[in-house]
C-alpha cells in the first residue's frame, strides 16, 4: 500500500514539479501548418490540481500530449520551448532530433536523426509513467483490447519498479531469526491494538509478505507463544521461497541497476550537451559506451533468456507485480479486484475501465497525473465517482494533477488553480475562486457568462451570453492577440502585437492589453 503522507497544500513554498516555458507545437498538414500551441507557459506545483480549460480545439490536449512528448509525428512536432519535469528539461535535446526546413506552408521537409531520437525515447520512457502519468478521454480506446487488465498494470509496474520488487524478494529471502526477534520484541513492547497492527503492517511490507498479513494478525491474536509464532512465520516464508532462483533474482536486479545507471549517465550527458561543456559531455559519452559494452557482455545470456521466455524467468517478479496490481485496483475502488485483474477491457464498464486506467497510471507512484478529459466519455454518475477518486488520490498521496476539461463545473469542483486557453494561447491563469469571481480576460468573462450560475441572483446576471464569432483557423491565426476578432474591447494594438501573460495581482496572470501594455517580443 502507498504510505506516503506528505503535507500537500504547501504549494507556493515548494519548487514547481512541472514547468512549461514558451511551448510551441505545430502540425504539418496538407493544407498548411497548424499553429496549435503558440508559446504556452505555466507551472504546476507538487500536490496541486491545475485545471486547463477552453473550447475544443484550443490546444488543451495538445498541451498535455506535449508534456508527455507524445505528439504523433507525423504530422505534429514540438517546435520549441522547454518542459521541465522534476527539474529535468525533456526538450533539452530538441534541436538535435530533426532538421526542419520550412519551404512554404504546405511544403515542409523534416529530416529526423535516428540516433538522437532513439536516445530521446530511451530517456522519456524512463520519465513517462514513472515521474508523470497520463489518463485519457476514452478508456475503451486507451486500453489494449487483447491484453488482460492485470497484465497491462503489471507491465507498468515491472517497467519502473523492478529494483524495489527485487529488493523485497531478497529481503524476504534473507529473513532470519534476528529480524524475527526484533519484530517480536517490538510487538511485545506494545499493548495498543492499533499500534500492534501497524507494527505487523510495517513488518509484512518491509519483507514483502503482504499476502500473509491477515493470517499473521490472527496468529498473533490467538497465540502467546513467541517461538510458535516465529516458526509459523518461517514456514510461511519458506512456502514463498520455493521455486525461486535467488541467483537469477539478484542477477536481474543487477542488470536493471546498471540500466538505471545508464539512464542517469545519459541524463548527465544531455545536460552537459546543453550547457556546452564538451569535456564533460565527452567523458560521459565514453562512460556510457563503456557501461553499455559491459552490460551487453555480462548480461548477454540473461537478455536472451528474458527475450525468449520472459514469463518464465520473471515469474517471481510477476507474482509480486500482480499482488501490487490487485492492491492498486482496490485503491481505485474496484470491487472484486482479483477477478478484474484477469479480465479483458471489453468485459468492464466505462467507469471500471477508467478506474483501471487510473490504477495503471498509479503503478509507479508518480508525483503527477495528467488527466485529459477523463470523464467526458462517461455517464454522469460514473463521472462523479471518477472525479472523487482523483480528488482522493490527490489528498491521500499528494499526487499533483493536471486536469484538462471543457467543463467549468468540473473545474469549480476539482481544481486549485486554473489556466484558460484560447486558440493555442494561455490567456489567463489564477486560482479557481478568482476565475469565477473576478475573471479579467474578455474571453474568460465571456466564458463565465455563458454558463448558468447558481450564485447569480439578479435578473441581468442570469441571462446567458454567447461569444460572437467562431474559433479561428489555426493555419492562419489572427495577428496579434488571437482573440481580437471576437473581442468586444478590441483596440488597435490588439491586432498588431501579442499581449504577454503578466501578473496583474498576486496569483493572477492575464494576457490582455486592457490590463498591461507588455507585449511579447519575437
Amino acid at each position: 500500500m502507498i504510505t506516503q503522507e506528505e503535507n500537500v497544500k504547501e504549494i507556493s513554498a515548494s519548487k514547481p514539479y512541472i514547468v512549461v516555458k514558451d511551448l510551441v507545437t505545430q502540425f504539418f498538414t496538407s493544407k498548411g501548418i497548424v499553429k496549435a500551441l503558440d508559446k504556452v507557459s505555466f507551472e504546476i506545483y507538487p500536490g496541486e490540481i491545475y485545471g486547463l480549460v477552453g473550447e475544443s480545439g484550443c490546444g488543451k490536449s495538445v498541451t498535455s500530449t506535449s508534456i508527455m512528448d507524445l505528439i504523433p509525428d507525423p504530422p505534429g512536432r514540438i517546435m520549441g520551448g522547454e518542459i521541465y519535469i522534476d527539474s529535468f528539461n525533456i526538450l533539452s535535446d530538441l534541436r538535435s532530433l530533426a532538421k526542419i526546413r520550412i519551404k512554404s506552408e504546405t511544403e515542409v521537409k523534416i529530416k529526423r536523426s535516428k540516433r538522437a531520437n532513439k536516445r530521446h525515447n530511451e530517456i522519456l520512457s524512463q520519465i513517462r509513467g514513472n515521474k508523470i502519468s497520463m489518463i485519457f478521454q476514452e478508456p475503451f480506446l486507451a486500453l489494449n483490447p487483447t491484453m488482460r487488465i492485470g497484465d497491462q498494470i503489471m507491465e507498468s509496474i515491472l517497467l519502473h519498479n523492478i529494483l524495489s520488487i527485487s529488493d523485497g524478494i531478497i529481503k524476504r529471502h534473507n529473513l532470519n531469526s534476528n529480524d524475527l526477534d526484533k519484530f517480536m520484541k517490538n510487538l511485545n513492547g506494545e499493548n495498543d491494538h492499533l499500534k500492534r497492527k501497524k507494527i505487523i503492517n510495517n513488518f509484512v511490507s518491509e519483507f514483502g509478505i503482504q499476502e500473509f498479513e491477515e493470517s499473521l494478525n490472527s496468529l498473533i491474536e490467538n497465540s502467546t507463544d513467541d517461538s510458535y509464532v516465529k516458526t509459523e512465520i518461517i514456514n510461511m516464508v519458506q512456502e514463498n521461497k520455493k521455486n525461486i532462483d535467488m541467483k537469477l533474482i539478484s542477477e536481474i536486479r543487477e542488470y536493471y541497476y546498471y540500466k538505471n545507471q545508464l539512464f542517469q549517465l545519459t541524463l548527465e550527458e544531455i545536460q552537459a550537451e546543453r550547457t556546452g561543456e564538451t569535456a564533460i559531455r565527452n567523458q560521459k559519452h565514453e562512460q556510457i559506451k563503456a557501461l553499455r559494452r559491459y552490460i551487453n557482455n555480462k548480461y548477454f545470456v540473461l537478455r536472451m533468456k528474458l527475450r525468449l521466455a520472459e514469463k518464465h524467468y520473471m515469474a517471481p517478479f510477476r507474482k509480486e507485480a500482480r499482488r501490487r496490481a490487485i492492491e492498486l485496483l482496490s485503491l481505485v475502488n474496484i470491487a472484486g479486484p482479483e477477478i478484474v485483474v484477469d479480465s479483458y477491457p471489453h468485459e468492464l464498464s466505462g467507469g471500471m475501465q477508467q478506474r483501471a486506467m487510473i490504477a495503471m497510471a498509479l503503478a509507479s507512484n508518480p508525483k503527477m497525473l495528467i488527466a485529459d478529459e477523463p470523464t467526458t466519455a462517461l455517464d454522469v454518475t460514473t463521472q462523479a465517482q471518477i472525479l472523487e477518486i482523483i480528488k482522493d488520490l490527490n489528498e491521500l498521496i499528494g499526487m499533483g494533477v493536471l486536469f484538462i476539461t471543457h467543463d467549468l463545473a468540473v473545474i469549480a469542483e476539482m481544481c486549485d488553480r486554473v489556466g484558460v486557453m484560447y486558440a493555442g494561447n494561455l490567456v489567463e491563469e489564477t486560482s479557481t475562486t478568482e476565475i469565477f469571481n473576478d475573471p479579467k480576460h474578455p474571453y474568460t468573462v465571456g466564458l463565465m457568462n455563458s454558463v448558468p450560475r447558481a450564485d447569480r441572483k439578479r435578473e441581468k446576471e442570469i441571462r446567458l451570453d454567447t461569444i460572437p464569432g467562431t474559433v479561428p483557423n489555426l493555419i492562419t491565426p489572427p495577428s496579434g492577440c488571437r482573440f481580437h476578432p471576437r473581442c468586444k474591447f478590441a483596440m488597435d494594438i490588439c491586432s498588431l502585437k501579442k499581449p504577454k501573460l503578466v501578473e496583474i495581482s498576486p496569483q493572477h496572470k492575464v494576457a490582455c492589453f486592457l490590463y498591461s501594455d507588455e507585449s511579447e517580443v519575437d
Binding site: E55, V380, Q383, L408, V451, P452, I467, T470
Partner: protein, 331 residues
C-alpha cells in the same frame, strides 16, 4: 456535473453537402497532384487510347479483328512453319518485338490483343458494377427477405475459388450456348461467365453503403415527404454509392484483366470453335510457350510485360483514388 456550454459547440452555418460532380472534381485534382497516381492515370490512358485507335483504325496499326488472318497473308500464309525470330529493327516496326509461334509478329498482335483485353475487361467490370449496384442497393434498401437472399447468394459465390468458378461457368455456358447455336464468340462467352460471378463483389460493397445511407437523416426526410422507395434508391442511395464503386472498379480492372488473360491462357476460349481468330494476351503467351524449352523467351516475356504495365498502372491509379476518397487519409 455535466453542463452544456453553448459556445463550446462550434457555431456558424452548417456546411452544405457539396454536389457529387464537384466532389469528383476535387478528388481527381488531389489524385493528379500525386505523382504516382498521375503515372497510373497516364499509363491507363495510353493503353486505352492505343486500344481505341486499334479498334477505330485497324489499317494503321495493322491489327483489329481478324488480325491473325491478315498477318498470315502477310507472311505468305505459312501457318505453323514459322519459327519465332528474335527482335529486329531491320524489317520494319511490326518486327521490333520479334515474332511468336507461327512467325506472327508480336508487336501488332499485342496491339490488337490490347483492344480485346481492355475492351472485354471494361465491359465485364462495368456490367458487373451495374448489376451489383442494382441488386445491392435494392435488396439492402428493401431489406428483410430480399437482403437475406442476396447475402446467401453472394455467400455461395464467395465460397468457391474465383478461378475455378470462372472455369466451370465458362465451360458449361459455352457448351450449352454452342448447342443452342447462339451467335456469340468465345470472348463474349467468357465475359458473360465472368460477369455472372463478378457482380457479388459490388453487391456486397453497395449493400454496406446503402445500409448506412438508409439510416441517415436525409433519407428519413425524403420518406417523410412521401417519396417512393424506388425513387429514393435512384435519387439518394445510388449517387452515394457511385464514388466508392468507381474506386472499386479501378482497383478491379487490373484483376479482371489478369483473370481474363488467365482463363484464355488455360485455353478456355478455344473450347468454342471460332472461325475468325484474334489474339489475346493470355493466348499469345500460351502460344509463345511452345518454344520455351529451347530457350526462346521473348514470345512469353513481351506480352506479359504489356499486361504487367497495364495492371500496375490501373492499380496505382485505383490506390491513389482510394487514398483520396478515404476520409482517414485526407488530413
Amino acid at each position: 456535473m455535466q453542463s452544456t456550454i453553448s459556445i463550446f459547440k462550434r457555431s456558424g452555418v452548417q456546411k452544405k453537402r457539396r454536389p457529387k460532380v464537384e466532389d469528383f472534381q476535387a478528388t481527381m485534382k488531389l489524385v493528379l497532384k500525386n505523382k504516382v497516381s498521375l503515372t497510373g492515370l497516364i499509363i491507363t490512358s495510353v493503353y486505352f487510347i492505343l486500344a481505341l485507335m486499334d479498334y477505330v483504325y485497324p489499317q494503321y496499326l495493322g491489327a483489329g479483328p481478324g488480325v491473325v488472318t491478315s498477318m498470315l497473308r502477310f507472311n505468305g500464309g505459312f501457318l505453323g512453319q514459322g519459327f519465332p525470330s528474335g527482335p529486329t529493327l531491320a524489317k520494319g516496326w511490326w518486327y521490333y518485338l520479334g515474332t511468336t509461334y507461327a512467325n506472327i509478329p508480336l508487336f501488332p498482335a499485342i496491339l490488337s490483343a490490347l483492344y480485346i483485353d481492355l475492351g472485354y475487361s471494361l465491359m465485364i467490370v462495368l456490367s458487373g458494377a451495374v448489376i451489383g449496384i442494382l441488386i445491392g442497393t435494392f435488396s439492402a434498401y428493401y431489406g428483410g427477405f430480399w437482403d437475406e437472399l442476396m447475402m446467401r447468394i453472394t455467400d455461395i459465390f464467395y465460397s468457391i475459388p474465383f478461378l475455378i468458378m470462372a472455369i466451370a461457368f465458362t465451360t458449361i455456358l459455352s457448351y450449352s450456348l454452342a448447342k443452342a447455336h447462339a451467335p456469340i464468340n468465345g470472348f463474349s462467352l467468357i465475359a458473360i461467365a465472368l460477369i455472372i460471378i463478378w457482380w457479388p463483389t459490388y453487391a456486397r460493397l453497395t449493400r454496406s453503403i446503402t445500409l448506412s445511407v438508409k439510416s441517415s437523416r436525409f433519407i428519413e426526410a425524403a420518406i417523410a415527404s412521401g417519396s417512393s422507395k424506388v425513387r429514393n434508391v435512384f435519387t439518394h442511395v445510388i449517387p452515394n454509392v457511385l464514388s466508392p464503386v468507381f474506386v472499386q472498379i479501378s482497383l478491379d480492372l487490373g484483376s479482371i484483366v489478369l483473370i481474363f488473360a488467365t482463363v484464355e491462357y488455360l485455353g478456355l476460349g478455344s473450347v468454342i470453335k471460332v472461325t475468325q481468330y484474334t489474339p489475346e494476351l493470355g493466348e499469345l503467351i500460351s502460344a509463345g510457350q511452345t518454344y520455351l524449352p529451347v530457350g526462346i523467351w521473348w514470345p512469353v516475356f513481351v506480352p506479359g510485360i504489356f499486361l504487367l504495365i497495364f495492371t500496375v498502372g490501373v492499380n496505382i491509379l485505383g490506390d491513389g483514388m482510394r487514398d483520396v476518397l478515404d476520409p482517414k487519409m485526407r488530413r
